[in-house]
């Protein structure tokens, strides 16, 4: 973007159609309805049709599943960071806990994947919440520091104590009955997560979450226990992460220490920043962009983490609003130069 000249500035105005669709006139004409529905339907229908479109490319169908898993993690990070105010650098913890609990339920109790996934989602969410409970009184920076340690240490503790299969991990986990089940379970989860969370943050409880983020003293003064709400927020976000982890364990038919790996912490963060923090959909879009890049970079091994980190830094410094915010702005407003 070029440097604006001194005697003029950019003025942004809402498009007429945007203003009309804000109110009751939204249903007055098909153009207005289309204006409102197009982006939303594009997203939903696009995601739902993606597995069908990708039929000729079985490899990319698998990539789509991975995209959805990362999208779940990214939504979880976005929600926790931008609505509850807890920056969790340890998304891999959710991943690992979900993966291990699904694998254990499946291999020890013989439950089918369609049972283990929901059970380990809730169970894993509860376990993560209990683990993170002592750290919840901490604010932003401090929580980030501690949450970073959890997945790193969890992997090492499993390695050191040789529990849950030690370094080999748990093998022989059942896969999903077919690729279609796998993909649609994940896609529906992503859509449901986005739908539910977007509504939740505008409800009363969402208001309290935002209050906890912006001014927790004020929330406390209103007689609301902030730790309870933070725990609730962590529970929701770790449930999403565990859902992703459980699905991953069933897709790879294996759960191991590498589920606590750094990829699962850094890619969702990068996706959220690239896609636009605080929009929830932005983080899904970020994943759709970043995870395929990761597949192309697979040959380079750990270099892709470095690439991510650089993309992440560049976006956070130069374009911190993210793609989603940028797109929304262009869709709803027009810009023009005005003389001062």
């Amino acid at each position: 973007m070029s440097e604006p000249a001194k005697d003029r500035r950019k003025e942004r105005l809402d498009r007429g159609i945007k203003v009309r669709t804000d109110g009751i006139y939204a249903i007055s004409h098909w153009t207005e309805i289309a204006y409102l529905l197009t982006p939303r339907l594009l997203f939903i229908v696009g995601l739902l049709l993606a597995p069908v479109i990708l039929i000729p490319f079985p490899y990319w169908q698998r990539v789509l599943s991975i995209v959805c898993i990362f999208a779940l993690l990214a939504i979880s990070f976005d929600f926790l960071a931008n609505y509850v105010g807890l920056v969790s650098l340890g998304g891999a913890l959710y991943m690992g806990v979900g993966g291990y609990s699904a694998a254990l339920l499946n291999s020890h109790f013989g439950l089918p994947p369609l049972v283990t996934v929901p059970v380990s989602t809730v169970l894993g969410g509860a376990i993560c919440t209990v683990l993170l409970l002592p750290c919840l009184p901490l604010r932003g920076v401090y929580f980030a520091i501690v949450s970073l340690m959890f997945p790193l240490l969890a992997g090492r503790i499993i390695e050191a104590l040789d529990v849950f299969g030690g370094t080999d991990g748990i093998m022989g986990v059942d896969g999903f009955s077919s690729g279609w089940v796998e993909q649609y379970v994940l896609i529906c989860s992503v859509l449901a997560a986005v739908f539910i969370l977007r509504r939740m943050v505008s409800e009363d409880v969402g208001l309290v979450f935002t209050g906890v983020k912006d001014n927790d003293q004020a929330v406390k003064a209103s007689g609301i226990n902030i730790t309870t709400y933070k725990a609730f927020g962590v529970f929701i976000s770790s449930m999403l992460g565990c859902l992703g982890g459980a699905c991953l364990a069933h897709i790879y038919m294996w759960a191991g220490i590498s589920q606590f790996a750094l990829d699962f912490s850094i890619i969702p963060i990068a996706a959220t920043v690239v896609g636009g923090g605080g929009t929830l959909i932005g983080s899904v879009i970020g994943c759709i962009i970043l995870v395929p890049i990761s597949e192309f970079l697979r040959d380079f091994g750990t270099l892709r983490i470095a690439v991510y980190a650089i993309i992440l830094t560049a976006f956070i410094v130069f374009k911190s609003e993210g793609i989603m915010m940028y797109g929304t702005r262009k869709y709803e407003q027009f810009e023009r130069w005005v003389r001062i």
């Binding site: 340690m149 050191a160 104590l161 963060i269 991510y308």
Partner: protein, 288 residues
């Protein structure tokens, strides 16, 4: 006896790892998540300069320290200064830079094969019935020396006092003509150099691996949280507590459990004294 001597060595090691982190955080309220990366970077650069370029060990060490200091300063000057004050972005950006350095190194040079720095002095010595190699003694010596020098620097020189002023009250320091951004750059460079010094004295004890970067970050953070972030005395005391706790668990419970010590220490501290051992009231309000 063994417990005491190795406990002291381990504690000084931890203190060395944590000094740079606590300095940067104390002065500019910037959690430098690239700390571990700078640590590994120094070791790698020193190794490169010695074996690939063929410089003498001392020269390679000094040069690598200078390079790390410059990298740290550049990191602040070109990236972090733009997002100053946005806590989330600061964490993510510094962590991302650290990751880029670490994983880039893993890809570029630290894959497989072990590379090591030679110890300063070979051999070992009997100390009250315990055999200790010279390098470990040097670690303790340099650790103590560094803490002493830093104390003198912070309390006796103009630059150090300015840093201290920034740490105590940034706005008041600015009204007295202290350039906040300049000071932050200085602190960042100094913190990086401290991480580098720790790397140079500690790496001869093992091989240079990327994982040690994460390790150092975790330990530095653990020490700082237990001690109270930004507090020097606290950090040193916490280093001794965690250091001895680690050695004790290693001796009585087995080396497996050593990794858990740091986490338990953090959690116990957070539950019992949320602001850390030496945290002040102001920090308490900020953290909890």
């Amino acid at each position: 006896m063994e417990i005491i001597i190795y406990g002291i060595i381990n504690s000084v090691t931890l203190a060395l790892m944590a000094l740079g982190f606590t300095l940067v955080y104390g002065v500019s309220r910037l959690p430098n998540f690239a700390h571990g990366a700078l640590y590994v970077l120094t070791g790698y650069v020193a190794w490169m300069l010695m074996y690939r370029v063929g410089l003498y060990y001392p020269i390679a060490m000094v040069l690598s320290l200078i390079i790390t200091g410059l990298v740290g300063a550049a990191m602040y000057q070109f990236v972090l200064v733009r997002i100053r004050g946005m806590a989330i972005s600061e964490i993510i950006a510094s962590y991302a830079i650290g990751l880029a350095i670490l994983e880039g190194l893993r890809w570029g040079g630290l894959k497989g094969g072990t590379i090591t720095l030679p110890p300063f002095v070979d051999g070992s010595i009997e100390l009250i019935g315990v055999s200790v190699d010279y390098q470990r003694l040097i670690v303790v010596l340099i650790g103590v020396l560094l803490v002493g020098l830093l104390w003198l620097f912070v309390n006796r020189t103009k630059l150090g006092l300015a840093l201290k002023g920034m740490a105590q009250d940034e706005r008041a320091a600015m009204t007295l003509g202290i350039d906040s951004d300049y000071m932050a750059v200085v602190a960042m460079a100094l913190g990086s150099v401290l991480a580098g010094i720790a790397a140079l004295v500690l790496f001869p004890l093992g091989s240079i691996v990327v994982e040690s970067g994460y390790n150092v970050l975790i330990m530095a953070v653990a020490v700082c949280i237990v001690g109270g972030l930004g507090s020097w005395n606290g950090a040193i005391l916490a280093a001794f507590i965690i250091g001895f706790a680690q050695i004790l668990t290693q001796v009585y419970l087995g080396a497996h459990y050593q990794v858990v010590v740091a986490l338990v220490a953090i959690i116990v501290t957070l539950i019992s004294r949320p602001s850390g051992l030496f945290g002040r009231q102001k920090e308490l309000e900020e953290r909890v």
